[in-house]
């Protein structure tokens, strides 16, 4: 991509994100005008109930959607780069299934630990990643990129079988699990975002610091190693970072599909293939996409709400197919 266009791209995308955030504040089951919002937030005699809705309900929700979008997008980008496979995503790596199984297990066997569900989701995602990485990196020989994906698919199948078994044994928990597996931002509070939000921000920063080395991975192992890059440890770190990001998002947003797959593709079409630029573009595009999806999900059938994950899948799948079959331009 032309360098001049790259300089313009980020400010334009950030502008779109800012508009999305504004829209997130303005619209919802109750609509406020801009003057009402300004008055509630910045004046002493503003409506306290409006301030409460904006700061206690909408702000955490927008923040959660933005963090989830940014985290999953960078996780997807890292997974696709480290495995050199454009179809790789958190769900292909088995991370979603692992987190889902952990949550299901907690709901069924330890229902008294309901407050620990986000931590269990994170633990499940982290355990699955370690399992997949351990299997892929411990075996000798070449083809680690393929092994990661195949191990991910096998582990996902195993955990999905576990979820099915638990749902047969404990049919009562199915409605709660369905809400988690659909993904969404209902009942999110700011306090719940501190730990996962910090992890996401640190993870994104670490990915950006690694990006010059990650760029070299596209050259293949021989050339990358010839350029002094420790390919295997770099892949491991990139995959571990991706799993930390996924785990952090799953812990408060549930199993939000498609973001990690689609956003890196969108970002590449917009910004080219330099990962140094792709990371900020993915962060801003991912955050915008999820904030807008959540906005539509909570206003479309207002006052009823759809889980954002369902909407993302409904919009994302056709969009992905469109990208796939459209003639590629470089």
């Amino acid at each position: 991509m032309k360098r001049g266009r790259a300089i313009l791209l980020l400010p334009v995308l950030t502008g779109i994100l800012a508009v999305s955030v504004m829209a997130g504040f303005l619209f919802g089951s109750v609509r406020f005008s801009l003057s009402e919002i300004v008055s509630a937030l910045f004046t002493e005699d503003g409506d306290a109930s409006i301030r409460l809705i904006l700061l206690q309900l909408r702000l955490p929700r927008i923040l959660a959607a933005g963090l989830a979008g940014a985290g999953l997008s960078v996780a997807g980008l890292l997974l696709q780069t480290a495995t050199d496979n454009d179809l790789c995503s958190p769900s292909v790596m088995g991370v979603n299934a692992g987190a889902g199984f952990a949550v299901m297990l907690c709901m069924c066997v330890f229902p008294m630990l309901h407050a620990w569900l986000p931590a269990m989701a994170f633990a499940g995602a982290a355990f699955t990643t370690l399992l997949v990485l351990g299997m892929s990196f411990s075996s000798a020989g070449r083809g680690i990129r393929t092994k990661v994906i195949l191990s991910g698919v096998a582990v996902a199948a195993l955990f999905n079988a576990g979820i099915s078994l638990l749902s047969q044994l404990y049919p009562d928990v199915l409605p709660s699990y369905a809400a988690f597996s659909a993904g969404g931002f209902r009942d999110i509070y700011a306090d719940a975002l501190i730990v996962p939000g910090s992890m996401i921000l640190v993870g994104i920063l670490a990915a950006e610091l690694l990006s010059p080395k990650l760029n070299v991975l596209c050259l293949g192992d021989d050339l990358a190693m010839g350029l002094g890059v420790a390919v295997k440890p770099l892949r491991f770190v990139a995959l571990a970072l991706a799993s930390a990001l996924c785990g952090a998002v799953v812990s408060f947003a549930g199993l939000l599909g498609f973001v990690g797959l689609i956003v890196p593709h969108m970002a590449r079409r917009l910004a080219g293939h330099d990962i140094r630029l792709l990371i900020p573009v993915s962060v801003v595009s991912g955050a915008t996409l999820v904030i807008l999806s959540d906005l539509v999900a909570r206003t479309l059938f207002s006052p009823a709400e759809l889980p954002a994950g369902i909407l993302m899948a409904a919009l994302g799948a056709p969009f992905f197919l469109y990208l796939l079959f459209r003639r590629r331009r470089v």
Binding site: L223, G226, L227, R268
Partner: protein
């Protein structure tokens, strides 16, 4: 004894009894090998003889199972990866089709010199420009690598390797899939680098190309070194026939020059060339 010491001092890289095994199969069986500054050393050998593995061992891509590689008197195993890649650059056989632009590819050659931010300095940019100029890729700098022809792609990667600014350059079959024009361009660049004092090692299968470009020829057979001498000595040996099934012939060119060349043994009866 003195001559041997002088030669060793001149050697940019020296392999001493290099061994490499993979899954209990010994691929390199104790190879002594030197590449000197200002020389082109050509490695010949059939597929599977260990040429590429030897290069990978020298470039630090494979870990030796025995022996030692010394670079300007220092053991390669003692060097960190970034330092090693500032001194040795290798262009492998298979070069991926990438979406990135040629100048972005060549800039990657500066990776061993960059910090965490990956920002290029003025010096880095000057070296990248020089590499593009030397390979005549300046005009294609903004093109995506995947849109280039096979020959152009080879030159783009050659520019990337040159941007690495290493004094020892390893080329694994750099002309295998090129037409005569691009072969000639690659060889011209290699000769120019030799004149500038680089140490070059090149693997190839074409004996005539090897004869035209090599100062020294090293032949590997089943992981052993079976020959290491000048190109002229190689032409006079029985190796071309014994290992490669080619005979050495001398002929007179249209300009009246005597030339030595190789041809497959099966062609012997069809021509009246004198056999050496």
């Amino acid at each position: 004894m003195k001559e041997e010491k002088r030669q060793r001092e001149e050697a940019a890289i020296e392999c001493r009894q290099v061994r490499y095994s993979h899954r209990k199969k010994e691929i390199l069986k104790g190879i002594d090998f030197r590449v000197r500054s200002g020389e082109i050393t050509v490695l010949l050998g059939k597929n599977g003889s260990g040429k590429t593995t030897l290069f990978r061992c020298i470039a630090g891509i494979r870990r030796l199972t025995g022996g030692e590689v010394r670079l300007e008197g220092r053991s390669l195993q003692e060097m960190k990866a970034a330092e090693r890649s500032r001194r040795i650059a290798m262009m492998p056989q298979s070069l991926p089709l990438l979406h990135i632009r040629v100048d972005e590819l060549v800039e990657m050659g500066r990776s061993p010199y960059l910090g965490f931010g990956g920002k290029l300095s003025e010096r880095d940019r000057a070296i990248v420009q020089r590499a593009l100029r030397l390979t005549d890729m300046e005009r294609l700098a903004s093109e995506a690598v995947k849109t280039l022809s096979g020959g152009e792609r080879q030159l783009a990667y050659l520019a990337m390797v040159l941007a690495q600014d290493a004094k020892l350059l390893l080329f694994d079959e750099p002309t295998a899939s090129l037409d005569t024009e691009y072969r000639s361009r690659v060889y011209t660049i290699l000769r120019q680098l030799r004149e500038e004092g680089y140490a070059l090692a090149v693997t190839m299968h074409d004996l005539n190309d090897a004869l035209a470009i090599a100062d020294r020829i090293v032949v590997l057979e089943n992981g052993d070194k079976v020959f290491d001498a000048t190109a002229a000595e190689f032409a006079q040996s029985d190796l071309p026939e014994r290992i490669f099934g080619q005979e050495t012939v001398t002929a007179t060119s249209k300009r009246g020059e005597r030339v030595t060349m190789f041809r497959p043994l099966s062609e012997e009866k069809e021509s009246g060339h004198k056999r050496i």
